[in-house]
Point group: C2
């Protein structure tokens, strides 16, 4: 849209080193606090944990929603980027399973953000799309690999699996989540030529 923004994602002026430090620290602190106390946690709690002043926070994230959205994107990215490494290191189904566990961890951490995302606030309207755009390809890749190798069936819609995960994850009961993931993956295996449980 802007005719001078052809180049890239970097803002016009380079961010100063100390500013970047503050941003990183804040993002990390906010992620922790949000996960622990939800998005309504006091701002002071975040600034305290980050060891910065309130002014610093508001300089970089003028609206509270800016911080929330940034944390969300940051965690989505981190989770999505974990996939390739798993694919490279493990065989398809194992990689898929491990990534699902990683994703469960993401969902659990995102619990505090959940309320905000569904609030209808236009500031967050782009996040579900981001979530989908980012995760569907990743999961598709993992599923495809496992399908190609003949380990799982091929009629599963990636987004359905993501939603199912969202419903399954119980932040307070790690064991339950683990068991359900196992169950899901076993379900995926059903009907392949290698149907062979213990």
């Amino acid at each position: 849209m802007d005719d001078d923004s052809k180049g890239g994602e970097q803002p016009r002026r380079r961010v100063r080193a100390d500013a970047q430090r503050s941003i990183d620290t804040l993002l990390a602190a906010a992620a922790e606090v949000f996960a622990a106390s939800g998005v309504d946690a006091p701002v002071r709690e975040i600034t305290a944990k980050a060891g910065v002043g309130a002014g610093t926070l508001y300089r970089h994230f003028p609206q509270r929603s800016d911080l929330i959205a940034a944390v969300f994107r940051h965690e989505v990215d981190a989770c999505a980027e974990a996939a390739p490494a798993l694919s490279a290191q493990y065989e398809p189904v194992e990689a898929l399973t491990r990534w699902l566990h990683r994703f469960a961890q993401f969902v659990a951490a995102k619990r505090g953000l959940k309320a905000a995302l569904h609030s209808g606030d236009p500031a967050y309207s782009s996040l579900p799309t981001y979530f989908r755009k980012r995760f569907v390809p990743v999961l598709s890749e993992l599923l495809d690999a496992a399908t190609t190798s003949g380990d799982i069936r091929s009629d599963v819609v990636p987004y359905d699996l993501l939603r199912a995960m969202g419903d399954i994850v119980a932040p307070d009961d790690h064991g339950y989540t683990q068991r359900m993931i196992t169950l899901l993956v076993d379900g995926l295996r059903y009907g392949t030529r290698r149907t062979q449980p213990a």
Copy 2:
């Protein structure tokens, strides 16, 4: 569970007339404010509209969530109780259609509460159950009547229809909502012996 609660729903002591007035006024005011500004609307806005003091509100609804839950239940009840009258007055499909419109109105009003309901706050955990327990029988009755008279098909799960409604309703676009309800009902009609659109 409690051995002394066999009797009924009335609290042990009768509420005074002025107290009941305050409660009703507050409920009405809160419903309006929540619908307009969401559940995070300032408490003062509600007390102002109701013409009562803050103390009065907190006397009857010690926690903010108590007020929210009360409003929710109140509106659920109102909507559910509208069904019998419609059934008595109109033929099955017409009654069903009219009630769906009524339900759409409820969902639109509940928009402000939506965020709270999905927040995971234990104070609201019982509300979805209440929603379901109250609405599923009502809708089942309406559907059964229309099925018996042969106007609609019989393979529709009431709760699915409720969910679909929740997704369809666009508080800002009344026309759209209306059209979608029509479409849904037409869909229900499909495959009956009276398949006969205009």
